[in-house]
């Protein structure tokens, strides 16, 4: 059943978004601009300095681009979990539980945000440019890594999004708090983690596994050792981190849903 329902739901959402054309086009443009403005910030900073955290502009652009594509894909599918606090507060989450489909997939297809493709496209352009100019040593392994890194990053971001959203089962108004790890994670992963320090780095790089979205894959692509001293194989384990994060997110989601109490009206 599910394999016929989900395509139908997704198709309906896509048709819905296409009906207000001007608004959709502006939304798409807004996403392209949002992604490009982050690029402008990096370029403005590099117009004043030669290196950030020990990395050159081309190297930072590789990280920025992987993070951008990964975040864009994650936002496309998991971004509507931002609305979960509204579902929980108003009690409409009950309706989702009553349907004979998984609660998480239902929420994820409830609003496929097609406009997020704008972000993905803008980041892909930069990714192509950065890979071509950053001096990557191309082997079958680095090609495979270059292709998979943004997708693996998207899985990690998706897991972060799900975990952040589960907080809303316990806290009433948690949307902004969740944003601090999702959008905050996006801001963090666009830069080398050497820019940050102390517990902020530990939190965003390893507790929220942000370092594995863009930083470590970029090190592997660029053939650079980690200035912070992690062994070389760490740069290649992002797919494992993604699987582990997705598993943690799945378990937490089940735990949270089991403890959900309706608002009672």
């Amino acid at each position: 059943m599910a394999e016929r329902i989900y395509p139908a739901l997704v198709a309906a959402r896509l048709r819905g978004q296409a009906s207000y054309r001007l608004s959709f086009a502006l939304d798409l443009v807004a996403q392209v601009i949002a992604q490009s403005l982050e690029l402008v910030v990096i370029l403005v900073l590099f117009s004043r300095v030669d290196a950030l955290g020990g990395f050159s502009v081309r190297e930072v652009l590789v990280m920025y681009a992987i993070a951008g594509v990964a975040f864009g894909f994650a936002d496309l599918t998991a971004g509507q979990l931002d609305d979960l606090p509204n579902y929980v507060r108003s009690g409409t989450f009950d309706a989702i539980l009553l349907r004979p489909l998984g609660s998480l997939p239902q929420l994820m297809v409830s609003d496929i945000r097609l406009r997020r493709l704008g972000r993905v496209l803008a980041a892909l352009v930069v990714y192509g440019y950065a890979l071509a100019t950053a001096g990557v040593h191309w082997t079958p392994w680095t090609v495979l890594l270059a292709v998979t890194a943004p997708l693996v990053g998207a899985v990690i971001f998706g897991a972060i999004w799900v975990v952040a959203a589960t907080v809303s089962f316990w806290l009433v108004d948690s949307r902004e708090l969740a944003n601090s790890v999702t959008y905050g994670g996006s801001a963090f992963t666009s830069y080398p983690i050497t820019v940050f320090s102390g517990w902020l780095r530990r939190l965003f790089a390893f507790v929220v596994p942000g370092a594995f979205v863009a930083y470590y894959p970029s090190l592997a692509l660029l053939g650079r050792p980690d200035p912070l001293g992690a062994p070389g194989w760490v740069s290649w384990i992002s797919p494992l981190v993604a699987v582990a994060s997705a598993a943690v997110a799945g378990v937490l989601w089940r735990f949270a849903v089991r403890h959900y109490r309706g608002t009672g009206s």
Binding site: L26, D27, V41, R48, V49, G53, L171, E176, A187, V195
Partner: protein, 239 residues
């Protein structure tokens, strides 16, 4: 409430880390910003962001889309002034919940450049003008619903560019000179960079205040005219 302030602080931490890394690479100073000034800039920015409502409320747009605005237009009040009053009230509350937490956090835990005592009144005035300017821009965006019906795209676009143009992400002085000059022809710097410049003593405070006052008044006047035109084309749907 606390969650919002926490989010502002987390983003402040990320932003000051990036700026600090840049300052280190540039031997301590970029365009009049040293570490203390950069900290004041980031934490004031994170606080002002909520106070002036940079990404503020767009309830009026919803009321226009649903048609509820007809009730607002019925009432014996000036809708424009009433909206401004509501926004000033919201800002007063945000002063405690949104402005103070990041600024106090930053001032206690980081090197922070304070303003000279005689500048405090100017900073307050500048912040008030920033609020009215921000309101003026948001009011016009709300009114655009009268013509577009669904203006979420416009609002999304505004949300994306306003932070950058107002000087939230990087101090405007970091941009190339031609870009800075062009930006000061727009109302955006009046919303964030203006009050921060007055606080830090960057540039002539009176000039900054004049820029802000001009845009606060101009946007209010434009809003008034646009509202008059919009009311003329109201179509009451169904009933």
């Amino acid at each position: 409430m606390l969650a919002g302030a926490t989010t502002n602080i987390v983003f402040g931490l990320l932003r000051i880390a990036i700026l600090t890394a840049a300052l280190k690479a540039a031997n301590g100073t970029i365009a009049d910003y040293d570490l203390a000034a950069a900290n004041s800039y980031v934490w004031l920015g994170q606080g002002l962001l909520g106070l002036v409502g940079l990404w503020g409320q767009f309830d009026l747009a919803n009321r226009i889309r649903t048609g509820d605005v007809v009730v607002d237009l019925y009432r014996p009040w000036d809708l424009h002034a009433a909206q401004l009053a509501e926004d000033v009230g919201r800002a007063g509350y945000s002063l405690l919940t949104r402005f103070l937490p990041p600024v106090v956090f930053g001032a206690i835990l980081f090197p922070f450049q304070w303003t000279e005592p005689r500048r405090w009144p100017l900073f307050l005035l500048s912040t008030a003008l920033a609020l009215v300017t921000s309101f003026g821009m948001r009011f016009l965006l709300n009114l655009s619903t009268f013509w577009l019906l669904d203006n979420r795209g416009v609002i999304a676009l505004y949300g994306v560019v306003s932070g950058m143009l107002a000087g939230l992400v990087v101090p405007l002085r970091f941009y190339p000179d031609w870009a800075v000059a062009a930006l000061w022809w727009t109302p955006f710097p009046a919303v964030l960079q203006g009050p921060i410049d007055v606080f830090l003593g960057h540039g002539d405070a009176w000039l900054t205040l004049a820029h802000q006052a001009f845009w606060a008044v101009a946007l209010y006047a434009i809003g008034h005219l646009v509202l008059r035109r919009a009311v003329r084309k109201v179509v009451i749907q169904g009933g």
